[in-house]
Symmetry: C2
Subunit: 243 residues, 2 copies
């Protein structure tokens, strides 16, 4: 009696703990062996439960995988937001650099997960979920970019989704390239140059550099008129000179 009715929470807590155990075991096995290579029996063994029990928590292997991915992407999004929140400067480009460094590092470190996410593109139901993960994650960049436009650091006519494609597309492709050259090649690529190039690219393509050119044009105009003026004065002076 006393030990049994300890708490109504206990039961739920127990289930949740078990669910977390399954998720953690699944995460490890999926990362180690990929989706096809992962064995439900191994996941069950690591979670210290029977194989059939998994199916009372998750409908199928695919759904379990999806839960793992959900957790993974949620974690990424939170971390990315934290990186932005902890930035000590307001400057767009500094923040972009922080985000790029974080993203590139993460994508390289968790390449397995990223690949798994895109490998799971068969059933339409799963696609939508995977899409939501991405949408939520890239929202960090979106708000950063919009803020940069509002603060006048970025061109107003820049198209958000184009910038987003360039940012994430380039970083992911670079991550794959870095990954590829890691084990075999001697010409190992580093993360630093990739991020630097990205910032430089955003500077030259999206910064309000146009204003600078405007200023130059103004300088040019004023110089030109000054020159004309000087020329006239010179002529006038020359005419006043004695032969």
């Amino acid at each position: 009696m006393t030990t049994k009715a300890v708490n109504p929470e206990t039961q739920r807590a127990k289930l949740e703990r078990k669910e977390r155990a399954i998720l953690e075991a699944a995460r490890g096995v999926f990362v180690e062996h990929g989706f096809d290579g992962a064995r439900m029996s191994e996941i069950a063994r690591r979670a210290s439960i029977g194989e059939g029990t998994i199916y009372s928590y998750y409908e199928s292997k695919a759904e379990l995988m999806l839960a793992v991915l959900q957790q993974f992407w949620d974690g990424l999004t939170l971390e990315a937001e934290a990186v932005m929140a902890s930035a000590q400067v307001d400057d767009f480009f500094e923040r972009l650099q922080a985000l790029a460094e974080y993203h590139l590092g993460t994508v390289i470190a968790n390449a397995d997960f990223i690949n798994l996410t895109f490998a799971l593109r068969r059933n339409n139901s799963e696609v939508s979920v995977s899409r939501d993960h991405l949408r939520h994650y890239v929202a960090v960049f979106d708000s950063l970019f919009r803020r940069g436009q509002d603060r006048g650091e970025l061109r107003r006519d820049a198209v958000l989704w184009q910038a987003r494609d360039i940012f994430y597309g380039t970083l992911e492709y670079s991550a794959r390239s870095i990954e590829m050259t890691m084990d075999t090649d001697r010409t190992e690529r580093l993360q630093g140059p990739v991020v630097d190039e990205m910032i430089s690219l955003f500077h030259s393509h999206y910064a309000v550099a146009h204003d600078t050119i405007e200023t130059d044009r103004v300088t040019l105009d004023s110089m030109s008129s000054k020159l004309d003026q000087l020329s006239e004065q010179f002529d006038a002076l020359a005419r006043r000179l004695p032969q």
Copy 2:
């Protein structure tokens, strides 16, 4: 005697024809159902052979898939090279645009294959092959870019692999985004703007226009100081003149 020894070629040709039939059937089934969804039995049925026969041509399902991918990527590379060869202009940016249009269209049209390529990243042996496909394919961009540098259209200090990452990374990411918004959203993205933005980006970041602006600035500064100097000399001269 007469009918049997028709030709020593016949036998080999027969085998090769059968191999092509298997490859073609496999290609269709893989594209329709993905790697896991594809059934060896269906491939055999479509190729009008017994299931076991496939295994006297290919070691395993994975190796068959790899052969399909090999053929696919080789075709892509050839097409990309043909696009470059048939370009009517020499201008780097026009050629880049043609390549971008081709690549984006191809990636969207054959999204299944592209995904399959990256989904097959488990066994190390397969990785290397997949890497070679990519390396060979992107060589088209590489030679185009180098030519652009040689012809003085592109900055000499530009780093090739960085430009390559930007080009292919952005296009692939855009292709995925376009794919995603295709069936559901009303705000459908088009391929045109993506390519245009890419060209514009390469113009602003890699064209020798940077040098021009730099040169302009330097010229402007020196002209400005010379003008001031001249103005002073003129005043001094004017003061020395008799009233």
